[in-house]
Point group: C2
Chain length 103, copies 2
DNA sequence: TTAATACTAAACCATATAGTTCAGTATTAA
DNA sequence: TTAATACTGAACTATATGGTTTAGTATTAA
């Protein structure tokens, strides 16, 4: 429950989703990760902390460098929660009539 | 992008997820919806507003009653976003090959 | 016509979030 | 040994969020 809160909250920010997307291409140091964003490294560090608290990113310190890598496992719970509602949009006919009813 | 923000934010609260779950069983008036929660109707009304702004709930006024119904469609975008990362937990081998393929 | 119902709006409060800057620590390179 | 790098922590700011209460409106029932 709290895990779902953390996962959805972590993913509700566009910067954090971008961090996740970048980490899908492989491990990155925190500073490399911060480079493309138009905000301080401290700000990115805090975003990584939110992701790390949610278990979506694992940070490992080797020397002075923090290596960040993705752990998508907590997303499973979120996707399972969402999948329950798939029936409410997946049915094309239901979806169409629902759409037409919008007028 | 903003839609994804809205969807994930809307679903990051346990009360709002409970509202969604109840609406999956069918349309409900706002007051009926508010009954089981240990907070004011005003608070529930605000939660419904967040869900409605995210497009997850459609509120229709008939007489003095606001009928709330689920529209799960915006969840599709969220589930699609999450599905991209399924490979990173669903299958260790797939995750590895995906990672290697990125080079 | 009056009273009850089903809300919304506004004002307020406490805490959380997203950002900043500045100072400090740990590690590595020169 | 000194200087640079890669961070974190603390203090601060502005705005958002989740809740409250009070007051008011629209609709229905008596």
């Amino acid at each position: 429950m709290q895990q779902l809160d953390n996962t959805f909250t972590a993913l509700s920010d566009v910067t954090r989703r971008a961090i996740v997307a970048r980490l899908a291409d492989g491990e990155q140091s925190l500073s490399k990760l911060a480079e493309p964003f138009e905000m301080s490294q401290t700000a990115v560090s805090k975003h990584v902390r939110v992701l790390s608290d949610a278990g979506l990113v694992i940070v490992e310190k080797r020397g002075r460098i923090r290596h960040c890598k993705l752990d998508a496992a907590p997303m499973k719970e979120a996707i399972d929660w969402l999948k329950y509602y798939e029936a409410f949009w997946a049915d094309k006919f239901a979806s169409l009539t629902k759409h037409l009813a919008k007028d």
